[in-house]
């Protein structure tokens, strides 16, 4: 176990190093970070001074080392627009993004697992068809359109739910539904196919033959085994949710990291963009590390690999 743990930890560190390099490199895409950071009307002299002050004349690898050192201490420089440390701005918004992604994931699991299980158990019935079609539609629907349609129906037409901002439970409903739909659809389809595979196996027939009744067979015998791939996909879907929060937060004016980074991109506030991308990517790497460790608990065979 400890060897596996160490190797998995090492991998995560390596991935984070890669992430930090890409985040660092974003500023170099145009060839000159000074041109990216300074306003377009900066004079040649301004650019020269800025370059010297920021150390942009140093060798590339030295600059990366400095960036990495800063990133590890949570120092991404000052926000160009707000004058505050970029890292703090992002950190402030992180709870809102976690709240939204967490609620979306919860909705997805609460809807998708029962839907997928029932759909598999009652295969080729009306219930199954409805669940399948809804999941297919959910997977094909663009998040931002769904968000706008929900606002149109629940905020504009019936005026029952707020369309923007963060506050109580009622503020969370529409954005969480919007963000969670795609994940709900995916987990429903995965649960259904996983359950179908498991339900056909010999030990289920044995359990049924021994006289175990319907519900316990489905949940205790079958679902427990079908749950393993679901745990993996939850880790991966969290990436989808964190990424999707960029769009959902923009539509619902949700004060999270996603909306902050979109605004930062419009304002050419790249330290904030870098801090946001780095933090969200690190969150994703960490969650997947935890998921993988959880996985070894669910399926001990993994440890032996």
């Amino acid at each position: 176990m400890s060897v596996y743990l160490l190797r998995r930890l090492g991998q995560s560190v390596l991935v984070l190093l890669g992430v930090s390099f890409v985040v660092f490199f974003i500023l170099y895409l145009t060839g000159d970070p000074a041109l990216v950071l300074l306003p377009p009307d900066a004079t040649a002299q301004d650019i020269g001074e800025f370059r010297a002050r920021m150390g942009f004349n140093d060798p590339f690898i030295v600059q990366y080392g400095r960036f990495l050192g800063g990133a590890l201490r949570g120092d991404f420089g000052l926000s160009v627009r707000h004058g505050e440390p970029a890292f703090h701005l992002v950190l402030e918004r992180l709870p809102a993004t976690f709240e939204l992604s967490g609620a979306a994931l919860l909705i997805a699991l609460l809807l998708a697992i029962p839907a997928g299980v029932v759909s598999a158990v009652r295969r080729n019935t009306v219930t199954d068809y409805v669940a399948t079609v809804v999941a297919l539609l959910g997977q094909s629907m663009p998040t931002f359109w769904l968000g706008i349609m929900l606002i149109l129906i629940f905020s504009v037409q019936f005026n029952v739910l707020p369309s923007s901002g963060r506050g109580g439970f009622e503020h969370l409903v529409l954005p969480a539904l919007t963000l969670g739909l795609f994940t709900t659809a995916r987990i429903t389809r995965l649960t259904r196919s996983g359950m179908l595979e498991v339900l056909n196996q010999d030990y289920i027939r044995t359990a049924r033959a021994k006289g175990v009744s319907g519900q316990p067979v489905v949940w205790k015998h079958a679902f427990k085994n079908a749950a393993i791939p679901i745990v993996t996909i939850v880790g991966i879907e969290l990436g989808t949710l964190l990424g999707g929060s960029v769009i959902t937060e923009t539509i619902f004016a949700w004060p999270g990291v996603g909306r902050l980074s979109v605004q930062a991109i419009y304002n050419r506030d790249y330290p904030v963009v870098q801090a946001a991308v780095f933090l969200l990517a690190s969150t994703f790497v960490l969650v997947n590390l935890v998921v993988d460790l959880l996985y070894t608990y669910l399926d001990p065979r993994i440890r032996l690999r």
């Binding site: 991998q11 390596l14 991935v15 984070l16 890669g18 992430v19 890409v22 974003i26 500023l27 895409l29 145009t30 990216v36 297919l136 539609l137 997977q139 094909s140 629907m141 663009p142 998040t143 931002f144 359109w145 706008i148 349609m149 606002i151 149109l152 504009v156 991966i236 990436g239 964190l242 990424g243 999707g244 929060s245 960029v246 769009i247 923009t250 539509i251 996603g258 980074s261 979109v262 991109i265 419009y266 050419r268 790249y270 963009v273 946001a276 991308v277 969200l280 990517a281 994703f284 790497v285």
Partner: protein, 317 residues
């Protein structure tokens, strides 16, 4: 190379070990072309896949013939008749089935023209990521060892980024243009292809016909290109089809954020962003472009699901 070695390769349709039934046909004289024909026939028997294919074909046909189909210029403004509801007839008696937008442009015409950037970006980006992913998967799977380790760690790094956030950060720095959007989406979407192809190669590498080709003196390059690649093509095709759907959604998301193909080119995402402003007064502006995305993506997904079930039902994509 000896002609016998080529003949020994199983059909391209026989996806790696997943379809033993198809592998039985190894000795069959039928060529790859006939295999693909048989596949098409099986695919056409799946009604949902056929339906998806028809929808996609219609969307593509509409996009290609848009300039001849539509009586209006998608950029022609008519401020005097802005925000007219669906079914409105202008003073000249011409019907505007989906109404007009905030600049008096015909909405249906713009929805039709919006298919062009969506399909263009999707096919070009899928081609880039598909080729990159195929190369990475072939290299990693065939050579293994350090090459494989490096490629798979790169894949982990790529997957760690919230895709849309990375895309908007890069496009934000470089500035939105059609080539930039295509390259950014294409370069950052190779991982799924690489994983699927790699998985296929790992099993193919040990198969007898590959061993035979090697015993006959085939070099690595020849073995990979002539024997492994054709057999890893089926799962690749499934991923590419389903990825088209994903890229169309991403393209419209970027346009929605103002980082996609720029106006005056009509894009579905851009129209949605415009429509969002008028949501309280003109519901049709945001509704129809979104429906266009939904229908297109649904068609591709239905076709892709059918393709997967026909080619390789165990493929987990």
């Amino acid at each position: 190379m000896t002609p016998g070695a080529r003949g020994a390769s199983p059909s391209p349709v026989a996806a790696v070990g997943a379809r033993p039934a198809a592998a039985v046909r190894v000795g069959d004289a039928s060529g790859p072309a006939r295999e693909w024909l048989a596949l098409l026939r099986r695919l056409a028997r799946r009604q949902t896949a056929l339906f998806g294919a028809i929808v996609v074909a219609l969307v593509i046909a509409t996009a290609l013939t848009a300039p001849w189909l539509s009586p209006f210029d998608p950029a022609a403004q008519d401020i005097g008749h802005r925000l007219k509801p669906p079914g409105w007839r202008d003073p000249a008696g011409v019907l505007h089935p989906l109404g007009t937008d905030h600049l008096g442009r015909d909405l249906l015409v713009r929805v039709i023209f919006g298919a062009q950037p969506a399909l263009l970006v999707a096919s070009a980006a899928v081609l880039i990521s598909g080729v990159l992913g195929m190369a990475a998967g072939l290299l990693g799977g065939y050579f293994g060892g350090r090459v494989d380790d490096v490629l798979m760690r790169l894949a982990d790094v790529q997957l760690a980024f919230p895709f849309i956030l990375l895309a908007i950060a890069v496009i934000g720095v470089l500035g939105p243009s059609l080539p930039t959007i295509i390259v950014v989406i294409g370069v950052s979407s190779w991982v799924v292809y690489a994983r699927v192809v790699r998985g296929a190669v790992l099993t193919l590498r040990e198969r007898e016909f590959v061993q035979a080709a090697r015993a006959l003196g085939g070099g690595d390059g020849r073995i990979v290109v002539r024997h492994i690649l054709p057999n890893a093509f089926a799962p690749w095709l499934v991923v590419a089809t389903l990825d088209m759907a994903r890229v169309i959604v991403i393209e419209s998301a970027l346009s929605f954020l103002g980082l996609g193909v720029q106006p005056p080119t009509p894009t579905w995402g851009g129209m949605l962003a415009d429509g969002r402003v008028y949501i309280t007064t003109a519901w049709w502006l945001a509704t129809f472009p979104g429906l266009a995305i939904l229908v297109t993506v649904l068609g591709i997904n239905l076709f892709g699901d059918g393709l997967r079930d026909t080619l390789d039902p165990r493929l987990n994509v």
